[in-house]
């Protein structure tokens, strides 16, 4: 290129190659690059070092925290933890300062380097190679090629879009089509046949009717959760110490505050500790464990169990069984469903219960739905899952505080209603859809006792709130209330004529169901956490020392007898013809008249 052409293109004010600015820029660029490289090396090394020695994940601190859990009053240990914690925080903030300072320095070096390079390159001209044709080739050939490539690109994109669209699957669409197939569910009341244990074929096709439910003990407080046993020949006398009428006694491998449930020849309960959640199936004639199935590998299940109180434990909710499936809920929010032979059908996690004592509400199976009450500190909801596959049927948000009560099914002449009690309301829902049918604001505090239903009336109670009688009809409304000696744990028992309320300190009171008149009150010597059950006109109530008090369900207090088990008991017994099954603190008892 001729010299004059280059001269002409120099920027105004451009300096000769040997000028001092250029030299300075070159040296500055080198120095800045070297410094930035050194700093980068240091920062990278620092990054690797801090990654491997993260002060916030100090194993020493974790160890000390574990020790503190065992010795919560150890002042020296607390001081040690504080010191270590302070050290970790200091390290954290020092690290932050180093990162901040280093990054600012690095940024400054980069800026200097770039500025120097810009100065150097501003002296370099982009002059054309005059030996080359202007434009570097045929203009029209270039355009032709560009058109061709654009066509290929556009067609390719379109094909990729269509292919992706065809192969992509949406869980939503699948769910929608599945729901549509599930809509025409069988009519309520279809029976499972004479054999209470349904075959797999039956399990897939039909749910048990009321008769089958009443022949068994399908959930917390029996059929519909009402505390009424339909079994005949229930034993009235036993003694755990002398083994009188104790058919068998077996230890339960894992602790749990849930009550036994029975279907056919099988008895089910669950146990859990911090590490495992297990469903057990017993042969109710021999007490042998037929199978046990651990609930594990559930997506979303917490790695650590939530904090709970020992009174509640990790397995407080009672199982629900319907002859096809047996379903369990645990304090972790895990829900599992098994077939009658222990094969896991499905399992899922409903979210970790935000519950300071531990989740305790029991589920209930209604037709093809598993209804799980989930009233937590973070909000109340009623979760309905399809019992066959665990898919969600509906979720009803409830404007209530946390509660530990379990649902009952009120079979009113008009419809089945799922009744739940919590602070501040007692409410009923259509169990098939979750639609709220009525609500009465009458509860307060931390509601533990479950409600009861009899003859068009719903009864709910909580200590320091009230015993509320709600008359159903065109509009649900309070019929009467009572304010003294109320239950805080034990659930109500209602019959056509009477309502029985059991205070946790052992005071049992009987009310006239329609008017609220208190017929009698009797103080039993021990406290009661279990709930009373009506069987054959008698009320069975177990106190915390394992003594079952039996009295007549009548307007006067008429004790029948008291049977000692010899072991603390907090659960509700299961009643089957000629049998009672009691889960005590450590053992499971089969009780019935021994044949000679």
């Amino acid at each position: 290129m001729p010299e004059d052409r280059k001269t002409l293109s120099v920027s105004p004010g451009a300096a000769p190659a040997s000028d001092s600015l250029l030299q300075a820029a070159r040296r500055t660029a080198v120095v800045a690059a070297v410094l930035a490289a050194i700093l980068s090396t240091l920062m990278t090394a620092h990054y690797l070092q801090t990654r491997s020695a993260d002060p916030l994940k100090s194993q020493a601190l974790a160890r000390l925290m574990l020790q503190l859990r065992d010795n919560p009053e150890d002042a020296a240990l607390k001081e040690q933890i504080r010191a270590l914690d302070l050290l970790a925080r200091r390290a954290y903030f020092l690290n932050q300062w180093q990162i901040r300072t280093g990054s600012f320095l690095l940024f400054a070096f980069l800026l200097v380097f770039l500025a120097s390079m810009k100065i150097i390159h501003s002296r370099r001209l982009a002059l054309p190679d005059l030996g080359r044709e202007p434009g570097g080739g045929s203009y029209w050939e270039e355009k032709l090629l560009a058109r061709r490539y654009l066509l290929l690109l556009g067609t390719g994109l379109g094909l990729v879009a269509v292919a992706l669209g065809l192969v992509s699957e949406s869980e939503l669409k699948k769910y929608g089509s599945l729901s549509a197939r599930r809509e025409p569910a069988g009519p309520p009341g279809a029976t499972a046949g004479p054999d209470p244990v349904a075959s797999p074929k039956q399990a897939a096709s039909a749910f048990p009717g009321l008769e089958a439910l009443q022949q068994n003990w399908p959930g917390f407080r029996g059929p519909d959760g009402n505390g009424v046993a339909y079994a005949a020949g229930v034993p009235a006398e036993w003694d755990g110490r002398s083994s009188k009428n104790i058919l068998w006694k077996v230890p339960v491998p894992l602790p749990g505050k849930n009550s036994p449930v029975v279907w056919g020849s099988r008895l089910f309960l669950s146990g859990a500790d911090k590490k495992s959640e297990v469903v057990f199936c017993f042969d109710r004639e021999s007490g042998k464990i037929l199978w046990q199935s651990e609930l594990k590998d559930i997506p979303g299940a917490p790695a650590e169990p939530p904090r709970i109180s020992e009174d509640t434990g990790y397995a407080a909710p009672t199982l629900a069984v319907d002859g096809r499936f047996v379903c369990a809920v645990f304090s972790t929010g895990n829900v599992g469903c098994f077939d009658m032979d222990g094969k896991r059908i499905w399992a899922r996690n409903l979210g970790i219960p935000d519950n300071h004592y531990g989740h305790a509400s029991s589920p209930l199976i209604f037709e093809d739905l598993l209804l799980v009450p989930f009233d937590q500190n973070s909000g109340g909801r009623l979760v309905a899952l399809r019992v066959g596959d665990g898919s969600p049927a509906y979720e009803k948000r409830r404007e209530v505080q946390i509660s530990w009560a379990s649902p009952i099914l009120a079979r009113t002449p008009a419809r089945p209603e799922l009744v739940l009690s919590a602070n501040p309301l007692v409410a009923a829902y259509d169990p098939r859809t979750g639609e709220e049918l009525w609500q009465v604001k009458c509860m307060s505090g931390e509601v533990g006792p479950s409600p009861a239903y009899a003859d068009g009336m719903v009864f709910a109670v909580n200590e320091y709130a009230r015993l509320a009688a709600i008359r159903l009809g065109a509009k649900a409304e309070m019929a009467w209330e009572y304010l003294e000696d109320l239950s805080s744990v034990s659930s109500l028992l209602a019959t056509r004529d009477y309502v029985f309320n059991v205070a946790s300190y052992g005071a049992v009171s009987c009310f006239q169901a329609k008017t609220g008149e208190r017929h009698w009150i009797h103080d039993f010597p021990n406290g009661v956490y279990s709930s009373p059950v009506l069987a054959g006109g008698l009320v069975y109530m177990i106190d915390i020392n394992g003594i079952t008090h039996i009295f007549k369900a009548d307007k006067t207090f008429q004790p029948v007898r008291s049977n000692e088990l010899g072991e603390k008991t907090f659960t509700v017994p299961a009643f089957m013809p000629g049998r009672i099954y009691i889960r005590a603190e450590s053992n499971l008892y089969g009780i019935g008249e021994k044949s000679s």
Binding site: R5, M43, L56, R147, P299, R348, R381
Partner: protein, 457 residues
């Protein structure tokens, strides 16, 4: 006297400089990771600080000040490009814009992202787009319509970030540039679709430089930014040219601009000095060769292009609609619903935070699914429109390539030119204008270029 410059920094040295930049980039990425890796010192809750997404809100007074600064910067850039034609002044204004709109304003609101707010407002009745955003959206477009892309010259902080790292730009072949030029259309289409459906502000989420402005971003974003900067040393302003969705709108406006900068202040004598001066490939060389003869075949081809246009638009729209399930997953509600269902079906592993939050909210599943279903429907409609727009853009671009251009002089591609002023100083007539050389010192065109003559450009 300038001979030494051509080999002062040969390619080996430039390569070394690039290597250093890469190394620094790696360290910067590590720094960003270090910063993001540490949670706040809360040992119990397990809370993890969310990624930095937007800067803190500003007072109305500051917002007004921002609009004023933007307007002033645009006016200054226009004045410097059109009147003083001073690259140095433009560069200084560029540094100011980088500091103000980039580091001081932390890159938000920027006109590039504002297009999303405007589109969201158009399709979401409940969303009121702030006045500041409207101003940031319209002002650069208005200036582009009047004076070309002076916004890109010295005001856009994203462009400035790349401009300062241009070291040894290579020339992108015309056909490749034409194809890469289609990418901003795709990006713009997706940006508008996701904004209109309320899914996400894609351009903001994928802004490669916002992490530098705010001194914090996710590792992939920092890496993306560093890659752009490293690439930008040899491919000048790659984001602006081959990605920027707002650039598409500016391109359209600039093509129609009332006044646009020119290489020469007076006339062009095809001296070729400016030929390689533009690192963005916006200088068009003269086209003297005769185009292929216009025969019936060619006329028929052009007519066919126009006739097929509706079919192409429809086919592309259908393809877009087919993709709606995939696209809808970008919406957090659809994504959440699918995740919840997959989790319920035991298909997913760990529970994500959104699923946990949803579970804790107690919101009925039916409600969530209904929302998600409606959104998928919106994406289907949006897919039709987006696909149709893309089809139209591609087809129109192909038709445009058939248009015969015959120009005997060097001129600027108005759509692609950033009005940065780099080419000015290469023109001998600019030297004459500045009084640096006498008019008779203007060199004659080289003998072998067949581009003789003069043009009052």
């Amino acid at each position: 006297m300038l001979k030494g410059y051509s080999y002062m920094f040969p390619s080996a040295r430039t390569g070394a400089a690039l290597a250093i930049l890469c190394w620094l980039g790696g360290a910067w990425a590590a720094w960003a990771q270090i910063k993001e890796r540490f949670p706040k010192p809360d040992f119990q809750s397990g809370y993890i600080r969310p990624d930095l997404q937007t800067p803190a809100p500003r007072s109305m007074a500051w917002e007004m000040a921002d609009i004023a600064v933007l307007a002033a910067a645009l006016a200054a850039a226009t004045y410097l490009a059109h009147r003083t034609r001073s690259r140095r002044s433009i560069f200084l204004l560029m540094i100011f814009s980088l500091l103000y709109f980039g580091f001081f304003r932390e890159g938000c609101v920027c006109p590039v992202g504002s297009v999303q707010n405007v589109f969201l407002a158009l399709f979401t009745p409940g969303y009121a787009v702030p006045f500041t955003v409207i101003a940031f959206f319209l002002l650069p477009l208005a200036f582009a319509l009047l004076f070309g892309r002076t916004f890109c010259a010295a005001v856009c902080p994203l462009g400035m970030m790349q401009d300062v790292v241009i070291l040894k730009p290579v020339r992108i072949p015309g056909r490749l540039a034409d194809i890469l030029g289609a990418i901003p259309y795709i990006y713009l289409t997706l940006t508008l679709l996701f904004a209109a459906t309320g899914a996400t502000f894609l351009t903001c989420r994928l802004d490669p430089f916002v992490g530098f402005f705010r001194f914090g971003a996710t590792f992939p974003l920092v890496l993306f930014g560093i890659s752009m900067l490293v690439l930008g040393t040899v491919v000048a302003r790659p984001y602006c040219r081959f990605l920027c969705p707002y650039g598409v709108l500016l391109d359209w406006m600039s093509k129609l601009s009332w006044r646009h900068v020119k290489i020469t202040p007076g006339e062009c004598n095809n001296c070729r000095l400016c030929e390689d001066s533009c690192p963005f490939g916006a200088i068009r060389t003269p086209v003297l060769e005769s185009p292929p003869p216009v025969g019936r075949m060619e006329v028929r081809r052009l007519a066919m292009q126009f006739l097929l246009l509706p079919a192409v638009v429809l086919a592309a729209g259908w393809a877009g609609a087919e993709l709606h399930l995939v696209l809808a997953r970008m919406h957090p509600v659809v994504s959440l619903a699918e995740e919840v269902l997959a989790h319920d079906a035991g298909k997913s592993g760990e529970v994500s935070d959104p699923v946990k939050a949803y579970r804790a909210s107690g919101k009925p599943l039916a409600e969530l699914l209904s929302e998600a279903d409606a959104l998928q429907g919106r994406f289907r409609t949006g897919g039709w429109l987006a696909g149709g727009f893309l089809g139209l853009a591609f087809a129109w671009k192909r038709i445009h390539l058939l248009v015969r251009r015959k120009s005997p002089w060097y001129d600027l591609d108005r759509g692609a030119c950033f009005s940065c002023g780099r080419c000015f100083s290469y023109c001998p007539y600019e030297k004459v204008r500045l009084g640096l050389i006498p008019p008779d010192a203007v060199p004659e065109p080289p003998e072998n270029n067949n581009l003789n003559g003069k043009n009052h450009a």
